[in-house]
């Protein structure tokens, strides 16, 4: 069976910056997932994620994404678009998801399919809570993940 990882990243102390982590927690609470679907709260870490993402067939990432869109917009990126988004300017080796994916690609065991679901933050101020606007769209984010899982042959079931 192919392994699927749903990875939420972000800092939960900085309101909307933590939307990815909030989304994966909501997913795990609301749905029964197939055995080969792993939900990972990646927080703000980097290389610790190598074992989690090694030899994964399908990776779904949820993150705050500064895309110059109206607040709380949701976007979906796929395949080659994703690494381009995680690239930064000058260092050959930033810590972060881009490095994990680069190292795994180098090793020859990067996820064969990557989808990024991004949410434009409203605020990054100090606080555990999401902004109202982003919170109001959290269910949509979770539904998007559920659709991705269904398409990849790993349907999730809403808990009673």
């Amino acid at each position: 069976m192919s392994k699927v990882v749903v990875l939420g990243i972000g800092n939960v102390l900085l309101s909307d910056e933590g939307v990815g982590v909030h989304a994966v927690k909501a997913l795990a609470q609301q749905y029964d997932l197939a055995d080969d679907v792993h939900v990972v709260d990646g927080g703000t870490t980097g290389m610790e994620l190598v074992p989690e993402l090694d030899e994964v067939e399908h990776l779904i990432v949820i993150d705050a994404l500064r895309i110059g869109q109206p607040p709380a917009s949701i976007v979906r990126l796929e395949g080659d678009q994703v690494p381009a988004f995680f690239k930064t300017k000058l260092s050959p080796h930033q810590v972060g998801l881009s490095d994990v994916l680069a190292a795994l690609a180098f090793k020859g065991s990067a996820p064969s399919h990557v989808v990024l679901i991004g949410v434009q933050p409203v605020t990054l101020s100090l606080g555990f809570e999401l902004s109202h606007a982003v919170k109001a769209r959290l269910d949509e984010v979770v539904s998007l993940v559920v659709s991705e899982l269904a398409v990849s042959g790993h349907p999730a079931r809403l808990r009673a």
Binding site: G10, G43, T44, S91, F106, L126
Partner: protein
């Protein structure tokens, strides 16, 4: 002619470190280190239960989660004068040492090797010659001709597929790259093997901490791992044996691969052991306590003025007044303001009130505060820890300093003295020495834990009780990047003030109120820069510190990317 170079960000996840240098006649003449992210994150724990703080503050940093958690519980325990059961000390020590090994291996291979290793050059290597060289310097199992040939095949496929760009702007073909194609190929092989080694180290943290990246097993007063010799759901003998297996695997890689590779880099880049010296005063803390009161430590720490080993003065415990009386922070060049006009404030009375200006070369230019020890900047990190070990006669530290020096001598004919540790390459050397030392400590703590459980002691937790009125405490950790301290003031059982003085604050600080620069700025001065468009040399020095600013906003910034079109859902 003066050329100004701005490198921003040097790191992404750790909170946007920006470096500015002015280059005159091919060398750095002026330097500025700037944290580009507001670091007032400690405010989030104000008025909360001190027992909950550790789980929150471990999220303030993306890379050093574990050490923030440990510093936090230690701070509250110090305030309460609460003893910690032996099993809890041993388990925490294992988590800390395994985390350190993970950090050092990842730092050397995944985060800085590409400053020294030209991946593209490795495609031109003769794999058999690469293997012959690798086997001549180490009997590591991953050095065979078959491994080198396979690595090169992967690498060629990878380069041919056009994916090299994911290592954003690696400086392939830069004139400062000196290794032969064969040595480059060996390094690439080890880069890939390091991905497995770091996994074993991380598994130790994950097994003991219940979860990684963010451990779950801490508590003020101990750890929450129930110990049982039979139950499956808790820390069992079987799990401890699994951990031992991981320890052994990490050890093989550490001694036969990482240690040898650092010696090879030091031997190949001798000029970098006289470049990149940071501040010459060193500060570290004792760590790895082995008694419940925290009076005995496996790892020594203290202060060393002017690099003088004979004048070393040790810090004897967490909360030692020699430590707490010395630390203060100034904000003259930082984007904060203090209520009174004090030049410096003690962390327990620390304030975090933002006062942003733009980047002013002679004024305020960083979100990082400027910490000092008795009024002067200090260098923290692996060099400080290793020098404390050498100065205090710590046997394993002295052993590995000598072994590394001999290995470099065998490879290049020259030796590295303790004084040369204060350099760009010396920082990598100190880090691998420290990795070898903490590895022995990891083994020792595993053994101590097994023996203690064998005696029938399964205690892991002492319940804290909070008095009425105000108490204060400090938690110290010798973290992978150096001395970390958390300072807490507790009033009637709630947090009244909280400040974290993190290793990268000591290192990446702007100038202090007396205008004295911290280590990043000092280390950059005199660095040669052959090509201002590709300032590889400046990055080598900054990366040697393992830069990390503990604020970790890592929002993906796609605003300036035009290659990808997005549609809003």
């Amino acid at each position: 002619m003066t050329t100004r170079i701005t490198i921003d960000p040097v790191t992404r996840i750790e909170g946007h470190l920006r470096i500015d240098v002015e280059v005159e006649n091919g060398r750095v003449a002026k330097s500025w280190a700037s944290g580009q992210m507001w670091r007032g994150i400690e405010k989030i724990v104000l008025d909360r239960d001190p027992r909950d703080a550790w789980a929150i503050v471990q999220r303030i940093c993306g890379v050093c989660t574990t050490v923030h958690a440990i510093a936090s519980v230690r701070a509250v325990e110090e305030a309460l004068e609460l003893e910690v059961p032996l099993n809890a000390q041993y388990i925490r020590n294992m988590v800390l040492t395994a985390h350190t090994l993970h950090d050092h291996i990842v730092h050397f291979y995944q985060l800085s090797a590409l400053d020294w290793v030209d991946v593209v050059s490795a495609t031109k290597a003769n794999p058999t010659k690469a293997a012959r060289f690798a086997e001549s310097i180490s009997d590591w199992e991953g050095n065979s001709p078959a491994v080198m040939a396979d690595t090169q095949k992967r690498l060629k496929t990878f380069v041919a597929s056009g994916q090299l760009g994911i290592f954003t702007n690696g400086y392939w073909g830069h004139p400062a790259m000196k290794l032969s194609p064969e040595v480059n190929l060996m390094a690439v092989a080890h880069y890939l093997q390091a991905l497995d080694a770091q996994r074993w180290a991380n598994k130790i943290v994950g097994t003991l901490g219940s979860k990684t990246p963010h451990i779950q097993n801490l508590a003020v007063g101990g750890v929450s791992n129930p110990i049982s010799t039979d139950s499956q759901s808790v820390l069992t003998i079987e799990r401890l044996l699994e951990i031992k297996e991981c320890i052994d695997k990490v050890g093989a890689f550490l001694h036969n691969c990482y240690f040898v590779d650092v010696a090879a880099i030091a031997a190949s880049y001798p000029e970098w052991s006289s470049l990149g010296a940071g501040v010459n005063d060193f500060l570290s803390t004792p760590d790895l306590p082995t008694d419940t009161k925290g009076t005995q430590f496996m790892m020594p720490g203290g202060f060393l003025h002017g690099g003088d080993l004979a004048g070393f003065r040790k810090i004897s415990r967490f909360g030692d007044p020699y430590f707490t009386d010395g630390v203060a922070e100034s904000v003259k060049h930082s984007w904060y303001t203090y209520k009174s006009n004090d030049g410096e404030l003690k962390p327990w009375r620390g304030e975090t009130t933002p006062a942003y200006t733009d980047f002013q070369d002679d004024g305020k230019y960083s979100w990082v505060k400027s910490p000092t020890y008795y009024g002067r900047p200090a260098q923290v990190g692996p060099i400080a820890s290793v020098l404390a070990g050498v100065a205090s006669g710590h046997q394993t530290t002295r052993l590995y300093v000598e072994r590394l020096s001999q290995k470099i001598h065998t490879l290049s004919g020259s030796k590295i003295s303790p004084a040369a540790l204060n350099s760009t390459v010396g920082r990598h050397a100190a880090r691998v020495i420290r990795a070898c030392v903490v590895y022995e400590d990891l083994q020792a703590n595993w053994k101590l834990l097994m023996e203690n459980i064998g005696k029938g002691d399964v205690a892991t937790f002492n319940k804290p009780t909070f008095p009425k009125g105000e108490i204060a405490g400090v938690g110290q950790v010798e973290a992978p990047r150096g001395l970390l301290s958390h300072w807490v003031v507790i009033k009637d059982g709630r947090i009244a003030n909280y400040q974290a003085v993190v290793p990268s604050t000591w290192l990446a600080a702007p100038k202090n109120d007396k205008g004295q620069p911290a280590s990043y700025e000092v280390a950059l001065l005199g660095t040669p820069v052959a090509d201002p468009e590709r300032p590889l040399e400046a990055l080598r020095t900054i990366h040697s510190f393992d830069p990390c600013l503990a604020c970790a906003v890592h929002l993906t910034d796609a605003e300036h990317k035009t290659a990808v079109q997005v549609s809003v859902l």
